[in-house]
């Protein structure tokens, strides 16, 4: 058997349609919305702020803490019980670790930066959409960071390497599947998140990781436009008033 045509008709390297915007949650210090196909994520940044509980304080630099949560109606099947599950806790941790390499909180000892991620709907790739939104929200909050982070799931369905799997592909029954969420920094394409479940050969894995780099550039472009658009809008507004 061969996986000749993707279930949703995309090219094998093609990402789903993306939407990105920043400043969507005015109460937060920085915020973003990021959508990849049927997966949407809000991210809000609060901080740097005082650290509670105090034992989390680091006197050398500020602490980054991410929280991932699915809204109860955001799963493909039954209602998701509110409150942190083991899955949500692990994703929160790997999300923090995916973002940490580009964040510089030396100017904020003993303080904490909280990033809250909340997903209204999911169709696979939810941790990746969450990371894309979180990186945008951190940038929007003016948190010092030496680069942007993007994330996408690459994988294999049967004999093909496919980019940005949707739920139906993850659940493909007629051949082996592997799902590999990857996060990378933009400039050097260093891997800051790498997980996998399914089965894949070393060869195929390496090819898949190579392909991710190109996809990351597209995600990065979307992120940069979202950040710059926030400030363009104000500029566009001024024109009619000007003589």
């Amino acid at each position: 058997m061969s996986y000749d045509k993707r279930l949703d008709g995309r090219d094998f390297d093609e990402l789903r349609e993306m939407d990105a915007s920043v400043g969507v949650i005015p109460r937060a210090d920085g915020s973003a919305f990021f959508r990849m196909g049927g997966t949407s994520a809000y991210a809000a940044v609060y901080g740097p702020r005082q650290t509670h509980p105090r034992f989390l304080q680091d006197p050398a630099k500020g602490v980054l803490r991410c929280h991932y949560a699915m809204m109860p109606f955001s799963g493909a099947g039954d209602r998701v019980r509110p409150g942190p599950s083991r899955r949500a806790k692990e994703i929160s941790m790997v999300t923090t670790n995916a973002l940490l390499p580009v964040i510089d909180l030396h100017a904020f000892p003993n303080a904490i930066v909280d990033v809250f991620i909340s997903l209204p709907q999911t169709d696979a790739g939810s941790r990746c959409a969450g990371i894309c939104a979180a990186a945008l929200a951190l940038a929007d909050a003016g948190v010092p960071m030496n680069d942007m982070i993007g994330a996408v799931a690459v994988g294999r369905v049967d004999d093909k390497i496919v980019m940005d799997l949707c739920y139906d592909e993850e659940a493909y029954k007629d051949g082996p599947v592997a799902d590999i969420p990857v996060a990378m920094n933009h400039r050097t394409k260093g891997i800051t998140l790498l997980q996998m479940d399914g089965e894949i050969s070393k060869d195929m894995l390496m090819k898949a990781l190579e392909k991710v780099k190109k996809a990351m550039d597209k995600i990065h472009e979307k992120q940069v436009n979202a950040l710059k658009d926030k400030f363009k809008e104000a500029k566009a507004e001024e024109k009619p008033e000007k003589k």
């Binding site: 949650i25 005015p26 109460r27 929280h67 949560a69 809204m71 409150g83 169709d123």
Partner: protein
Amino acid sequence: MMVNDAGRNHFLKVLNEGVRYDKRKMDEYRDLKITRGCAKTAEGSAEVKLGETHVIAGVKFGLESPFPDTPDEGILMVNVEQSPVASPEFEVGPPSIEAIELARVVDRGLRESKLVDLKELCVKEGEKAWFISIDIVTVNDDGNLLDACGLAALAALQDAKFPKVVDGEVDYHEKTKKGLELKKIPIPVTVYKYEDHLLIDPTHDEEVVADARLTVTTLSSGEICALQKGGKSPITTEEVEKMVELSLKKGEELRKVLEKGK
């Protein structure tokens, strides 16, 4: 709040001259936007934006055994999550007392108005009935979550479609064309009291300095189906009368917006 709050004192001074910080009239809602179908994974969903206050409600259907004391009825449940995304004051963890109050006030409005006939949700008496959960999650709290959550729950219920059932199991991949038959539309309007002033739809800054509030949930018939008094100060019966009148009037306006977007 605090014993001495300079911010509150100044806010009241300005209010005494008949002016609100954002120039709105005392009984004026902010822009209300309702968008349905924002969460494709839910059987029904709606996003409500009231000025900068933003909440999302989603409805999930499940098939369960009915409660033993009501074997011929389905179940309707409301839950509100004060997601820490929405405010620096909200925290991760079990629901706060404020979130529980929000959920209970919305729930009471829906339940007491009997907007859904729970008997119609029964599939097989004593064995299977529809279990409908309405979850409301905050995205940005700029005050008056009570009214925003109530409206979001109603809009999401209007949007909801039963999922397909295959061999007695729910197939969440497919929705039927059948929606819920909503008998009534219970609209909550919360009136806030500041000394001698009554105002509605406060921003967060206004809300935190209020003396008291009363949520009045009303039906198009003019009947009241739920009440909730909040805040630290008492309110007089004369004030209750004014608050109910205001809620009835504003409730009609909101009802129109809600019906228009259906």
